[in-house]
Subunit: 388 residues, 2 copies
DNA sequence: GAACACACGTGAAACGTTTCAGAAGGTGAC
DNA sequence: GTCACCTTCTGAAACGTTTCACGTGTGTTC
């Protein structure tokens, strides 16, 4: 590809004029305009301002332009000025790909989706994605999102890193024996995760402090005077699930309240399963029947509410119900649901900070971070907030 | 950076052996391994297989390797074989950045988010993103997602295209006078949109046929025997909103049913506004009071349901209610909501196809596409589906 | 006035790929 | 035996940037 300088020379006009004629950024006498266009046509030139053009206009070498623009080496004030002006006049923007190739750093962070099943509670993740992109950009990076199958997710990760598409990864939706984490650790690829795996693996992650969250909501229920408080958790075995259950015990212990084993039910993360668990709780003898039910997800809380409603039990008055996640739906159900909100912007910023530490090979002060969720009190636990 | 060949020469071993020693992909005698590691250390070499290494191992030039691997020029069967074997043995993966620079094509598609307000109905968009990524990858592209402010979104788009970060864009969440569309059209940047703007602008888009959707649900209500059918739409002026309202009129006209002006209400897209509109409808004299209310979004339908519930009017029995979008919540509310599902995978695939046509400068057979949504019947309109 | 240090710039190489233009060698026709 | 023409391969340039190693010119010091 010809340079702007060559076009200008052929048309016998200054470089700047050639640029203006081609870009339309300023008016140029018709005659000159014509000859510039003809020259460009002849050379097969399409407008692409590069560092060479800036150098030619400023009358310096490309090295000097690079130094002046990046402040990467001392340049006299006068030349710097000329370079900056030339760059501005030509509306020069460095081509990232040149930089990428030379530095062997893409400044791109990979983020993989797997298909979100309909109805699964993922409305949170798109907000996470937004804030992640935001945070990443504040470091001059961008996010490359890709789709991967749920069966062999590592293929996509391997391909992206081996072809130098990305510098590192951010993971969400981790699980206990996450093959992606195992692969990335082994291949020594920089990454940071939103979510834990298991405590044998040492890798950078940020997670919601589910234990603290359920503790918060349980304390809230205790304050309201409840003494028979039930919990519907997930089946044992998941790190975050077990942590949430632990928060329940911690709060009851701290308040020296009795815990009855019948009050702790386990169910899959679905509204139907939670409804069934609620039915069992309500079937307990009245002395044992709980007056409050804490759930480890909004989805489950809604199942419980549906069950109670269908039995004529008034949520918020007769039985308090709480969730976890603060999904958009939590505000809309009837009555609105008390729940725990994950500070998604904060989480995203922190996980990105962890990744940046990995990328720059700076040992982070803390590689594992837990963020406490925020208790959002609504009418499902607090009758005073019930609509008139 | 030194090449694998140089390391091998220094260590006085075959290239393949050097690779195996460094990568651990195959066992290598301890003595050779040591000398390879020493050689790599001395040259400051870290394992990065490039086309040069493949060429050296296959004993051909890098040009030949490129031709053989890409089938971009005739190569004799024997050499092709040797090249392929060498590439496989070294686990060679071309560095995209080299290719990018040379071709001046990034094979990256930009996709911008703006912050999704809490509770706004965006759970659909993350599924769109997934399917978009999937579709884009089938063309060998990837998606670069970025965050942009709602005030001046064009800055982000301009920056990405001017720095050669991306080849084109996919837009979602378009609006009537979308500045992004205007900019991209003017700057002749390839893009395709999910959503329309206004009919003066000619650009490639895919959109849900909202008119047909509301027509479908209205026909469904008519079939069920309703004759007094109301509609709660958005304030006049939005392309997609007006189209949805039109579908209502079309269905009633086709069935020769009367339309009463009091039955068509306008409200903002919120559950509260929709509840208020429902209250007005229910306050009509009984001869005029509708027995079915179609809404142009699930969010509004839920507001209507909440209102009816609170007044003791049984949704599905006394008054039918329908929504639009099939948000996850639609299945969970009580009773489950009849609504219209947007075929998100199909939409994503089609918008990507449009963009690819733009990128390859192939004139697409059709640049504007409407996709009919699918009617999902649940208990909110069909009492037979009511839970026991 | 020679020797040196320093400030400022520059030419050229490098990153990894594709691709152009042409070299080498073989084959067939006359 | 010469020529032309394939087929198969290669050297080198190109993409746009950063950066290394080295000029050049000026001023300072003795």
């Amino acid at each position: 590809m010809a340079t702007l300088k060559q076009v200008a020379a052929l048309a016998d006009v200054p470089i700047l004029t050639a640029y203006q004629a081609l870009s339309g950024s300023a008016a140029v006498p018709q005659a000159q305009r014509q000859s510039v266009l003809a020259a460009a046509e002849q050379l097969g030139y399409t407008l692409h301002v590069t560092i060479k053009d800036v150098a030619a206009l400023a009358g310096v070498s490309i090295a000097t332009v690079s130094y002046a623009l990046n402040n990467s080496a001392p340049v006299s004030a006068a030349t710097r000025q000329r370079v900056l002006e030339a760059a501005a006049a030509l509306n020069y923007r460095p081509n990232v790909n040149g930089r990428t190739l030379q530095a062997n750093k893409t400044r791109l962070v990979g983020y993989g989706w797997h298909d979100v099943k309909r109805g699964s509670s993922a409305s949170f993740l798109d907000r996470f994605t937004y804030w992640m992109a935001q945070a990443v950009e504040s470091y001059g990076y961008h996010v490359l999102t890709f789709a991967h199958s749920e069966e062999s997710p590592t293929d996509a990760y391997r391909e992206l890193i081996q072809t130098n598409r990305v510098d590192g990864f951010i993971l969400a939706h981790t699980n206990r024996n996450d093959v992606r984490i195992r692969y990335l650790m082994e291949a020594r690829v920089p990454f940071a995760a939103f979510g834990r795996a298991n405590d044998r693996w040492d890798f950078p992650y940020v997670d919601v402090d589910g234990r603290r969250g359920v503790e918060l909501v349980t304390e809230h229920l205790i304050e309201l005077g409840h003494t028979r408080i039930a919990l519907i958790g997930w089946p044992e075995g998941s790190l975050s699930g077990d942590a949430r259950v632990q928060g329940y015990f911690d709060a009851l212990d701290a308040a020296a309240l009795p815990v009855h084993s019948a009050w702790v039910r386990r169910a899959e993360n679905s509204s139907a399963a939670a409804a069934a668990a609620a039915a069992e709780l309500m079937a307990l003898p009245s002395a044992l029947r709980p007056t409050a039910i804490a759930c480890v997800s909004d989805l489950m809380a809604i199942g419980v509410m549906n069950y109670l409603n269908s039995r004529g039990i008034r949520v918020g008055y007769d039985v308090a119900v709480s969730g976890f996640d603060d999904e958009p739906i939590a505000e809309l159900v009837h009555p609105p649901l008390t729940t725990l909100r994950q500070p998604v912007d904060d989480l995203a910023a922190q996980v990105v900070a962890l990744l940046m530490a990995e990328l720059e090979r700076i040992p982070a002060p803390q590689r594992q971070i837990l963020v406490a969720p925020q208790l959002i009190v609504r009418a499902s636990t607090d009758p005073k907030r019930q609509l008139p």
